[in-house]
Amino acid sequence: MSLDMKVDGKSKNRADDLAQGILGTPMDRPEGLLKVTGEALYAAEDLPGNCTFGMLVSAPAQGDVTLSNEAEIRDMPGVLAVIHDPRMVRNAAQGTMDEAPVQGVDHAAYAGQAVALVVAESFEAARHAAQSVKLGLSGEEGPIDPQAVETEESEGNRFVRGDLDKAMASAAHTVDAVYTTPSMTSAPMEPHAAVAWWDGDKVTVRASLQMLKYNRNELADCLGIDSENVRLLSPYVGGGFGSKLGISPEAVAAAIAARELGRPVRVVLHRRQMFEVVTRRSETRQHIRLAADGDGRLTGLGHEVLVSNLPDEPFSEPVTQGTHFAYPAENRLIRKEVARIHRPAAGSVRAPGEAVGVTTFEAAMDELACAAGMDPVELRLRNIPEKDPEQGIPFSSHMLEPTLREGAERFGWFDRDPELRARREGEWWIGTGMAAAFRVNILSEAQARVRLTAGGAVVETDQTDIGTGTYAILTQIAGELLGLPADKVETRLGDTDLPPGSGSGGSWGAASTGSAVWLAAMELRQRIADAMGCDEAELTLKDGQATCGNVTQPLEEILGGESLVGHGHVKPGDALEEVMQSTYGAHFAEVAVNDVTGETRVRRMLGCFAAGRILNEKTARSQCHGGMIWGIGMALTEGVTHDRRTGRMVNRDLAEYHVPVNADVPPLEVHFVEERDPWAGPMQAKGIGELGICGAGAAVLNAIHHACGVRIRDLPATPDKVLAGLLQ
């Protein structure tokens, strides 16, 4: 039995009528104690007996690869194998790719590509042997500068209507600016890791991955075996942020080596390899044009972008994704060019598209507010579209206005002096800035199983929890529907032997796999109702008791020693075409800019967000904090430097690639505007994992401008760039 649902239209609001009262509450993570005691086991932990240790060998430059001293390496103490196999992959697979990424390591397509694996009896022996490998690299090197190659247009991203040039020429106020953002990296704290072992024709890989059902097919395709013969385990994932969406080189290499050696093989990426062999966020060049009438209403907008990727990669950074629906303007020119270059592969990094696209666009909107002499909040309020400006379809809900108003109110936005350089404390210029937040909402196919016994319920799906709170919210959903307190629900995740969830990514995990759990539990409710002879809608389940009319029975009694299994399966449907679904928010930041040094410190930041039903107020808040802090990083410190001669990442470690540290982060406030989005599925909940980063950096950049008059269009706003502005 299974309760299936294709989300074609609106769903009824059922959750608010349920009795247990745990959905939406700020419940602690059920796996929390395991994480604070060190008992939660990540990929490279819980090693099988007889395990061997592998280390990938990276090519320092592009070229055809020969291993010059392979025999010597094999003879080194402890070395078991040198693997250089055509099934090994060039880089990690793109998210939801579902098949092998580009395979073959006889050619290094970019500096830093992993081209071989050395396996030894110990980690120390493997590392030294890998470092001792001498590579011959020959042949032509491909281009590495996205500005210096012919580009190809990405047709799917193009939207042209009216005449933007004319709109610009006749507008009361205009902005015409070029923004650039550097390559960025996910840098999850847990490096990619895989431990692989074979049992006959079946391989099991304990790995750090986000989307197991796709990863299973990707790995099977890489190895040339059936997916049924691949089992992946990712019970705990130490952060992903897009970097673990697709199967990656260490997992493929570990599986190949384990087969060859007949022993388990552990391969963990070195932190430097974390920058290079998994995907980066593409650098972008964005030409933004805005035309507005005297009231600040947009008459035209242009967003023309250049991004890059390796040849044969199907992904290109969807920079303009938010631009298509954010603001109305009759005259529109939105297009994207892709440069095929030989830097490490580009892929999804937290909020692909909006993270960089909304950030730059919202900075440009701030420029427009300045040009028009308007308050930036007011400018946004005047430009809220009534329907999707390009597709003409309605929005499932549009929460920009309430988030803007509530955020502005709570932040004390309107107390600001709109003048630039108006506030000074000692050496520091103080200013405030704001930005709107948009992130498309996506539902993805997912399945889950819920087993109900006298002792409680067990939720099972291969869905992962990459820190997003999956353990918590799936527990809450099942508990809410089945009338069980959280400690009577156990959630098991991260095992491909379990029903395939949606995977974690694109902010869709909670709403998609959550809906599958919802449906599985709903099926159980129907069966309980049947057993009691009533309609499911009249059934009340609370604290292990079932009530129908004036009859109350313990669940245990209804089950009669048996267990009930419900299966839920949700699929996206027409709801994604009939309406435009997005989440919304508003960011407000106060910064201090040092007049002597150009250093910027964020003093406080507030985000106000709407994403349909919030499933767990605590974990949702943490996600928003995370996004906002990533915004601080994007605005102030983060950027990969590629060597101009080789394309190699120069600052490929955590000392030189500056993710924000604790001291970079001021007190943050997050507020949610209550919302139910009936188009979003049975829970009326939308994704929240990425909204917080969208536009956050713009609030910081706009605050820098307000503080000291310096407009940074080349991110990040490091002291040298701000100082150069101050000196002008």
């Binding site: 604070v36 060190g38 120390e124 993710v659 604790n662 982060v665």
Partner: protein, 166 residues
């Protein structure tokens, strides 16, 4: 080489290649995987443990250099039942993925001790005197522990709560 470590109160004898770091000795040779390897180069703090009561990056220290030392890892903070600080991390959601968490906990434990001993920090206004558990002091003193999920607000709230109750 042979060495003895007292780990979480238990004496452990080890025979190790001198190249093995304290972190790998714990994770691979003693199967205490609570201590995490994030960068292996002292740039993230996930490997933080207490050695003779002081917090250090165990990835940048060779195990052989610690013969006779007392090591406390996250597994040793629990002492049968999770301590005040560990519970506060759960309550304030001081983690998401949980990978940096053992390092944060060991670091915070060491940091609270340093604060109790009156050590100043970069943000202390004066070098003389007592330093309180202000937001600025906690943030600066915890900046050697990167959390990419960026749970700094929850981490700091948890440390403040546990520190004030202590």
């Amino acid at each position: 080489m042979t060495l003895t470590l007292t780990v979480n109160g238990t004496e452990r004898q080890l025979e190790l290649d001198p190249r093995v770091t304290l972190l790998d000795a714990l994770r691979v040779h003693l199967d205490l995987t609570g201590s995490k390897k994030g960068c292996d180069h002292g740039q993230c703090g996930a490997c933080t443990v207490l050695v003779n009561g002081r917090r250090i990056n165990s990835c940048l220290s060779l195990a052989v250099m610690h013969d006779g030392d007392e090591i406390t890892t996250v597994e040793g903070l629990a002492n049968g039942k999770p301590g005040e600080l560990q519970q506060a991390f759960v309550e304030h959601d001081g983690f998401q993925c949980g990978y940096c968490t053992p390092g944060q906990l060991c670091s915070a434990t060491g940091m609270l001790q340093e604060l109790a001993e009156g050590w100043p920090s970069h943000v202390s206004e004066t070098l003389e005197g007592e330093y309180g558990l202000t937001e600025a002091e906690i943030s600066e003193r915890m900046s050697g522990n990167i959390c990419r999920c960026s749970c700094y607000p929850g981490i700091n709230a948890a440390i403040r709560q546990a520190g004030e109750r202590a």
